[in-house]
Symmetry: C2
Subunit: 435 residues, 2 copies
């Protein structure tokens, strides 16, 4: 795919953006904002602002694009007046790119069209702190992969009690399905779940609040295109079905998971919630950050073989803020998505290899992107060796698993040659179990 | 819950219904029909007919109910002009019952209101053979339980290679999440999926069409009420969240499943599709068919303890029609939902014990309702001992797993004291893999 003109590193905007901002003009991620009195609408992030796409469309700023892309023209402006990106995604990659490139034009420092229309700027450009971010997509299907070999091996050892990964693991990306209702947007509080588990000093299971509430440092990709049942998407075409990437924090109850995993290997109910970041960074914007992934041995069968750089180098940080803390969050871990063994294209090819249908807005999470070093582990399970070696933090704090009131934040960004494309962040705070 | 007047066994309708019909006036299941030129709408089955609820509402036949149940009144008639039952379900149990009881009144032999209005009858009453049945609900979450102990043990032995069930199995109903996109209505053809499996005479996995396509004889319940995240539904109140029951045939690729199960116990990708019957029989209509379930040892912990008869005795039949056959389908198996170890109420209580949210329209499948005798097994895996002992059928046919062109039908009904409440049927035919 040729580079988009919206990616040009020399572009700059008439909106003031600091070099450390997540959302320069080369990024332009999509999200859904809720504006008091106006209701939900689609938006693009630029610096500390959200550009209201619905308002822009109503003011005619997409008229030229609507002419060039008839399917977009037929859907405007209503497709921007929705509670999720889904309807916009269904318009397809040509429409996604046309909108992103038009937004790029409108925000360029040398384009007076919007810049010099004070009334339009006041209507279309909202401070992010003045709007509520909604969950960006309404997924029909949620798939949780296990893309990192390091993470898979650590889980097998710490929860499964085995010393090495099954050779099966290297033949295909493994995944489980999750609940669409469990996907929540950043800043949604997470209620501590209850379930069956065996307390450390006992042998029989008890029912009660989890004592091992954990997080998972990961990304998820947003499926952009709907496919009919029976359709397989070859690995070489898989990326054209991916709209973009967001940050994901999957909350797990490790003690509940351990108990359930012992019964026929069912891992389904371990899942508590998936917190996602509100802005979806397009695959287009991440084009400059492609890298080769790790060598894959044994070589995958042809249906999973892809040429070229199909991995992306996104830095991920796991941050922690203890209950009551007023200081900056502590960094617990720092990893990169480039450590994932399986690429997103391989995950999507695997998912559709059996002909399962995709829906625009579906989410595919990577699983924790744990890297090979101790500072690059993507879960408390791994960082604390199953809770046996609590982390020593400032102020005499020893962190095993999460306590009520604790806040966990995942941040992510790509950076290269002075260009930073940020994914923003996803945050969640633990609430006590309902009594 | 007091018995509904719509359940009165002495009722009969002005519509001619044979004693073997699935849909007498005491049943009145809900579905979604698509009528040429008119579009989708909600309907109730009566004998061989579908009563168009939208047309009835437009003609004022629900005006009295709308007055009594304001939430229904505010939603009429549009709530009946939908592609799924979801919006109707969200109105809650009072509205469900009020509509079913009003339909019962309208169809009673001694009520002339609709009966004697020829024009209204021609508008509202459609032959089922003249309409297309749509998928009755649009599930947000799909959960596949393993409610039958016999089935769980058989799967553990035939696929897992272990001789007995883990004691963990008896502590809580186990389940995995599935894909909402994979739920299809009866008569949807099922494409043979491909995936990794190890052919019988080889040791290395190959990628290709499954050689062990299987079915599963089960029911699923439809969640009727949405709950907020963090809400637990106690087992004693679980049934009030269940709208009704339909038939379900889960298609599995046993060779793909076996290969995946070996890697960290992930069972997620074994799932091919779930075919569901088009009419949802309300829990109200099934009230006369309550039975005690099997004894549960060890006794479940309090959060799963329920008093009273929480199981239902529904007969289930697995039927088979080989490719090209023009004769009646063959009965492969005959079982009852009363053999399930875990009740629907226990399944729903387990599901929400960790606070996971429910959405109206969610589906919870039971897993195969295999009974203890050889004629009561709910899958080909079990009926053929993992494919090693093909079934001997008429015309020298030996059936291991499914061939392209084969049709599988699941039928179900409850019967007692001359009253038959049918679930209808769900059918599916195997298509060859796309090449």
């Amino acid at each position: 795919m040729p580079a988009s003109p919206a990616n040009d590193p020399s572009l700059h905007s008439w909106i003031d953006i600091r070099p450390t901002d997540d959302f320069p003009i080369q990024n332009l991620p999509f999200g859904v904002i809720d504006v008091p009195d106006w209701g939900p609408r689609l938006a693009v992030a630029i610096g500390g602002y959200a550009l209201d796409l619905y308002a822009c469309a109503q003011l005619g700023y997409f008229d030229s694009v609507a002419e060039d892309v008839p399917e977009l023209g037929a859907a405007l402006p209503k497709v921007f007046r929705r509670r999720s990106l889904n309807a916009f995604l269904k318009l397809g990659p040509v429409a996604w790119r046309a909108v992103r490139e038009r937004v790029s034009e409108l925000l360029r420092h040398d384009n007076p069209t919007l810049r010099d229309n004070e009334l339009a700027v006041r209507t279309c450009l909202l401070r992010q702190r003045d709007v509520t971010m909604l969950r960006p997509v309404k997924p029909t299907n949620v798939t949780c992969f296990e893309a990192s070999r390091t993470h898979a091996l650590n889980v097998a050892q710490l929860l499964g009690g085995v010393s090495s990964l099954s050779t099966h693991w290297h033949h295909q990306p493994l995944a489980y399905s999750s609940r669409a209702s469990s996907v929540v947007v950043s800043d949604t509080a997470i209620r501590r779940p209850s379930g069956l588990h065996v307390p450390a000093d006992q042998t029989e299971p008890v029912f009660g609040p989890t004592q091992q509430l954990d997080v998972s440092l990961e990304t998820a990709f947003v499926v952009g295109q709907t496919t009919a049942p029976g359709t397989t998407v070859p690995v070489a075409q898989a990326e054209s079905h991916i709209f973009g990437i967001l940050l994901c924090n999957e909350w797990h109850a490790r003690d509940l998971q351990r108990w359930q995993a012992l019964a026929l290997g069912s891992l389904a109910q371990m899942h508590v919630a998936s917190s996602v970041s509100p802005w979806v960074v397009t695959l287009d914007a991440l084009e400059p950050f492609r890298v080769a992934g790790p060598a894959q041995q044994p070589e995958p069968l042809p249906y999973l073989q892809a040429s070229g750089e199909q991995h992306f180098d996104l830095h991920l940080e796991l941050l922690f803020k203890p209950t009551g803390s007023t200081v900056a969050p502590l960094v617990l871990s720092h990893t990169s998505t480039s450590t994932n063994y399986w690429s997103m294209a391989q995950q999507l090819a695997q998912l559709t290899a059996n002909g399962t249908a995709l829906e625009a807005g579906d989410l595919c999470a990577s699983g924790a992107s744990s890297g090979p070093t101790s500072g690059a582990l993507g879960s408390l399970l791994e960082l604390t060796q199953g809770g046996t070696q609590p982390l020593s933090l400032p102020n005499d704090l020893h962190l095993g698993y999460l306590r009520d009131g604790d806040t966990v934040i995942v941040r992510g960004y790509a950076e290269k040659n002075g260009l930073r494309i940020g994914l923003g962040e996803v945050s969640g705070t633990v609430l006590p179990t309902t009594t």
